[in-house]
């Protein structure tokens, strides 16, 4: 039937309308979420500042100046100096690079594993579901901190290895959320329709199931960034994280332990950096959640 008609309108104008209606709703909802918008700004400033650390920082992050140890904030050192005379502002910027990088990478890894496990378990069901969900239960039951302490005693932590380890320990929630989402998506008529047209399982999962579960996946990933930054800080605080002289927000806190009462700025600034970053990321997650599912999903 088409041969005759195909010639009719070959070169049409591609209007860039695809998805704009849904997109507009998304942005409108997100903009209404004031905290999320402010948080987006906070995260943007923090990320840009840390990324541009070599340009912004007044000193080298490992430049030791024994003549100015533990100085209070001043014009020369806006956040003061630490116990080796290193500029704290510089170290907060450089530390942020590592902390944020670990946060993002481990969130990506964890979300990837979680989405894959959840999608396979939910889609195939039965044995696959049973096995994968029991593995998830086991992973949940692993006490994170003791395991990391044991790991750290055998290996030297780097930013990369920290990201991998945290990622490997934080996929379970995503897996459960995605699984439950997939359980309902796979019953949708369009999945059966795709199957009736010969689509393979791989394609059905990739093109039909996962894209429709993207909302909770994105929200989960965002929240995971915050959690990973916290976990990195805890580990570094215990001395199990990235080793000095490379600064992270966590190991800066550890360095400041001894002088917390007398030289509070050493604790306050990296602490505030963690607080703002995690808080902002979590608010963005909340905003995304509301924007991606405004009052229950509309069919249109």
């Amino acid at each position: 039937m088409s041969e005759a008609l195909a010639g009719g309108r070959v070169e049409g104008v591609r209007t860039p309308r695809a998805g704009t209606a849904a997109g507009r709703v998304f942005w409108r909802e997100l903009r209404r979420h004031r905290l999320a918008m402010i948080s987006l700004g906070v995260v943007a400033v923090l990320v840009l500042a840390c990324a541009a650390a070599p340009l912004l920082a007044p000193y080298d992050f490992d430049a030791i100046d024994l003549s100015s140890i533990r100085e209070a904030p001043s014009a020369a050192h806006p956040m003061g100096t630490d116990d080796l005379g290193r500029d704290l502002f510089t170290r907060v910027l450089y530390g942020g690079r590592v902390s944020i990088l670990i946060g993002v990478l481990s969130a990506l890894l964890g979300t990837g594993i979680g989405a894959a496990v959840g999608a396979l378990a939910g889609y195939y069901g039965r044995m696959v579901d049973n096995v994968l969900m029991r593995v998830t239960d086991v992973a949940y039951a692993i006490p994170t901190l003791p395991l990391l302490i044991v790991l750290a005693s055998y290996t030297q932590a780097t930013a990369g290895s920290m990201a991998v380890v945290i990622g490997l320990l934080s996929w379970m929630t995503t897996a459960r959320v995605v699984r439950s989402e997939v359980l309902s998506i796979k019953e949708m008529a369009y999945v059966e329709a795709a199957r009736s047209l010969g689509a393979r399982n791989r394609r059905i999962i990739g093109r039909h199931v996962l894209p429709n579960a993207l909302g909770p996946i994105v929200v989960g990933a965002t929240l995971a960034v915050g959690n990973a930054i916290i976990l990195e800080s805890s580990l570094s605080f215990l001395g199990l994280g990235v080793q000095p002289p490379t600064p992270t927000w966590g190991n800066m806190l550890m360095d400041a332990q001894a002088t917390m009462a007398t030289k509070p700025w050493l604790t306050v600034f990296p602490g505030l950096a963690i607080l703002f970053m995690v808080l902002a990321v979590n608010f963005i997650g909340d905003g995304l959640q509301d924007a991606l599912d405004p009052g229950g999903r509309s069919s249109g």
């Binding site: 088409s2 195909a6 369009y190 689509a199």
Partner: protein, 346 residues
């Protein structure tokens, strides 16, 4: 009706599909047989729970667990589909046999553009390039009556009306020119005016492409001007099969007569519509005799003891009723008393 010597494109024999439930096996389809020739259309008519949808899903190997096709053969162009591997099934679906589902509002993936969904099967089965598939998709969309087809390929489903979506779904199903199209009540979810348009569209496409169509419906009125033959399903079995005009003129099973009598057009006056009393058989425990016996006004001793098989009553017309000869020519009530025997349903 092209029941020539040619072999049928679809030959279903003694199809049995069961669901293993906790309460025991549910006998959804109990050995039904029918054939479909190229370009022919057959309606599978029955009430909810008669097994018509399950029998259709069985043809595509899409019976959801815990359901299983337990026996019979489904010959598509001479090849038995029931023996195929999962992979081989996937190559057949959408290419040689395709299905259109009831609800067009949910049959399309909301997050993919219509173009993506239309080109999918063609690229998958025919190995077409993206560009070629898009050209073909635009032509298909234009053919099923979507204006500005080329531009609208990049739209998501929510920008189309219900009728348009069903047109798109039909285009998707026919994209690879399958030999058989299974249409599972594709008009039930649509307005009456749109229904008529969709029916007309399917008929046109059928003639153009020579597709054989298995039309599944509970609506006998819809079937009248649409198909060549009708098979009436009851309790997982076929109780009557006939050319469509013959079925309306000489229904030879009490159940068919009941269905025809309960059509709004078929009943005289303004009183309540006639109904068939009673309930369909329990498929957990299918009767070993005639499944319609408990509801039948013509029932006799034999009906409760022996299962009637589908037997020819006229050329191309078969009935599974022991007493078909006594039913008389015109449709009437299910019971023995026919008030107005001369009335024609249509």
């Amino acid at each position: 009706m092209s029941q020539a010597a040619a072999t049928p494109v679809l030959d279903v024999r003694d199809l049995v599909t069961r669901f293993e439930t906790r309460a025991g096996p549910v006998h959804a389809v109990n050995g039904i047989s029918y054939t479909l020739h190229a370009g022919e259309s057959l309606a599978l008519v029955g009430e909810s729970g008669s097994g018509k949808t399950v029998s259709a899903l069985s043809l595509l190997g899409l019976v959801p667990p815990p359901g299983r096709v337990e026996g019979g053969r489904v010959l598509l162009n001479g090849r038995d589909l029931l023996g195929l591997s999962r992979r081989a099934w996937q190559d057949v679906r959408g290419k040689e046999i395709a299905m259109v589902f009831q609800d067009p509002m949910t049959s399309l993936n909301p997050v993919l553009t219509v173009g993506r969904q239309l080109t999918g099967p063609m690229r998958r089965h025919l190995g077409m390039s993206r560009r070629a598939a898009e050209d073909e998709a635009a032509a298909l969309l234009a053919r099923v009556g979507i204006p500005d087809a080329r531009e609208r390929l990049s739209d998501h489903p929510h920008r189309f009306s219900g009728g348009q979506r069903q047109r798109i779904v039909i285009a998707m199903a026919l994209a690879c020119r399958p030999a058989v199209l299974v249409a599972d009540e594709p008009t039930t979810a649509l307005d009456v005016t749109i229904q008529a348009q969709i029916v007309a569209l399917v008929r046109e496409l059928q003639e153009e492409l020579g597709t054989a169509i298995l039309w599944i419906t509970h609506d006998l009125a819809l079937v009248a001007g649409l198909v060549d033959r009708v098979a009436v399903m009851y309790g997982g079995t076929l109780v009557e099969e006939a050319p469509v005009d013959d079925l309306f003129a000489r229904p030879s099973h009490p159940y068919t007569r009941g269905l025809l009598a309960s059509l709004p057009e078929g009943s005289a006056g303004t009183g309540p519509l006639p109904t068939i009393e009673g309930r369909p058989p329990d498929l957990l425990d299918p009767p070993s005799a005639c499944p319609f016996a408990p509801r039948c006004g013509w029932v006799e001793q034999r009906c409760r003891a022996e299962l009637p098989r589908l037997r020819p009553v006229a050329p191309g017309h078969a009935s599974a009723c022991w007493r078909w000869e006594e039913l008389g020519g015109a449709p009437g009530e299910v019971g023995a008393s026919v008030e107005d025997p001369g009335e024609e349903p249509r």
